[in-house]
């Protein structure tokens, strides 16, 4: 079906799944971005209300805290897709070919395992607050919606990691194939180039992995 028989061929199903997942990830990142804008506006309302009308937003801190889950977790899978979670690349950067893909594969499998563990644990954290009850300190907002966001966002990340495992496995088998939908290691100069592109907002063009 895929490149295992034809190293230079394009694994169509994989690419299609990558695209679909990418759209969901983009949506989550968009929600995160919107929540940041909303936080900004709410805080401005809070300042104006408190200063000029003697009426602060009731439970402003509670509200902010619960809403924070949106931008703290929303973009997590997107960030993994574009290789945005920081790491040290000095040692890894010396690897080439199959050795590099094996190292990348092992790294992603480890993340995949720990994320699975955290999905399990954070689900129970949500479930306790939903079934037994939990509320915020000041105005008593229920905390379960915010807690639910964690296993959901991590599940999306887990799907992305599953994709990347496939992507790297494919490269381990065929080290010369074109890397598709996996973040590719950069030397310091290319990393710098990316910082530049980010600062100048030019990476909109190659979304969906830096390959």
């Amino acid at each position: 079906m895929t490149s295992q028989t034809a190293p230079s061929g394009r694994p169509e199903t994989y690419i299609r799944f990558d695209g679909a997942l990418g759209r969901i990830e983009n949506l989550f990142n968009l929600i995160a971005a919107a929540s940041i804008l909303a936080l900004m506006l709410l805080a401005v309302v809070q300042i104006i209300g408190r200063t000029f009308f003697n009426s602060p937003v009731p439970g402003f801190i509670d509200l902010t805290e619960q809403a924070m889950a949106a931008f703290a977790f929303g973009g997590i899978a997107y960030c993994q897709r574009v290789g945005g979670h920081i790491r040290m690349e000095i040692v890894l950067g010396r690897f080439k070919g199959r050795a590099l893909w094996i190292a990348e594969l092992v790294g992603v499998v480890l993340i995949w395992l720990v994320v699975a563990a955290l999905i399990y644990g954070s689900w129970f954290h949500f479930e306790r607050s939903y079934q037994i009850g939990d509320s915020t300190i000041d105005v008593g907002l229920p905390t379960w919606p915010s807690k639910l966001l964690v296993p959901v966002a991590l599940s999306l990340l887990w799907l992305r990691l599953s994709m990347q495992i496939y992507g790297y496995l494919r490269l381990v088998l065929h080290p010369d194939a074109e890397p598709i939908a996996v973040p590719v290691i950069e030397d310091v100069t290319t990393a710098a180039q990316h910082e530049i592109e980010e600062a100048f907002g030019e990476d909109g063009a190659n979304e969906g992995g830096r390959a």
Binding site: N54, H125, R128, I132, G133
Partner: protein, 312 residues
């Protein structure tokens, strides 16, 4: 058999945690050092608001919690945090707490977290310090921006004050800059957040309410204890609390010394005025609480009556 229990508490070692230190000491004496508590300060084992989660998971065996940090986790305990109940001192607070902790509805509430109530950590009443004209009667709080959370916040709202959320650490600055005019804490918290440095008055006996912060233990861990260890634990509670009260007396001494040094006006309300507070800012919220509990299938009136019976 050596047993070490992990104990999750927040903050540093202070009067509020001295009953745990004493308990550890007494357990060592009674079990030849075989039953120990590893008291982990500073939220090393869990964030304070998640201590019940940690107990329910079995991550640690003992923890201190405060009911109002998460009312829906422990609705029955919040009766002790209703405003203007009229608790005069810490000794009475312990008696009220113990009566309530033995009520089956309360034990059932905590058992949902696999938790059992061990003892109280009685907290002083949250009186106000503030800046500007000192309030003398109920109406003086009208329009005043106050730092008061939860039940006290709601109570102050019924008499026209404006509860404003400010984190504890920012309270000094908030009073100093006029973001709020006054703030309610227990004396030790006023001392550590230095709210008095920005203020010129203090309400000695408004006693608007406080938080209720029991020490809880994991039921399975308790049941797994050998009988003599159980006995050692249960029999040490009273002495630990006596030690705790002695430590709090020192805090009060320090507090009143500070008030004198800073020349802070001590506002004492007379009985009629306190009754007015109770009628206007307390009782309506008590009724609301009872109805809320009834809706949850918790015998609210019974719990409130139990508390009142210990106070009158």
């Amino acid at each position: 058999q050596d047993v070490t229990w992990n104990v999750s508490v927040w903050g540093k070692r202070r009067a509020f945690t001295e009953h745990l230190e004493k308990l550890n000491e007494l357990l060592a004496q009674k079990t030849d050092g075989k039953f120990k508590l590893n008291i982990a300060y500073g939220e090393a084992l869990s964030k304070s608001r998640e201590n019940l989660d940690g107990i329910s998971i079995g991550a640690f065996e003992m923890a201190q919690i405060c009911a109002s940090y998460h009312e829906d986790k422990n609705p029955t305990l919040t009766v002790l945090e209703l405003p203007f109940l009229g608790v005069p001192d810490l000794k009475t607070q312990i008696e009220v707490d113990e009566a309530l902790y033995h009520h089956p509805a309360v034990q059932k509430d905590l058992a949902r977290w696999n938790a059992k109530l061990l003892m109280s950590s009685p907290m002083p009443q949250y009186n106000f310090v503030g800046k500007g004209d000192a309030p003398k009667k109920v109406e003086d709080f009208s329009g005043m921006r106050v730092r008061a959370l939860g039940g006290i916040g709601k109570a102050m709202e019924t008499i026209g004050a404006v509860p404003t959320t400010v984190t504890a650490a920012e309270t000094f600055q908030a009073i100093d800059s006029g973001t709020v005019r006054s703030a309610s804490f227990a004396p030790h918290a006023h001392l550590s957040f230095k709210t008095y440095e920005a203020s010129n008055w203090w309400t000695t006996n408004l006693n608007p309410g406080t938080v209720n912060c029991p020490v809880v233990i994991n039921i399975d861990a308790y049941n797994a204890l050998p009988d003599d260890y159980k006995q050692a634990l249960d029999s040490s509670v009273k002495e630990s609390l006596d030690h705790y009260l002695a430590e709090y007396d020192k805090v009060y001494d320090q507090w009143y010394k500070t008030l004198d040094e800073m020349k802070i006006e001590q506002v004492t309300f007379d009985k009629d005025e306190l009754t007015a507070f109770k009628h206007k800012a307390g009782e309506p919220l008590w009724q609301a609480w009872v109805e809320e509990m009834n809706a949850k299938g918790i015998p609210g009136q019974e719990l409130l009556d139990l508390v009142q019976s210990k106070l009158n």
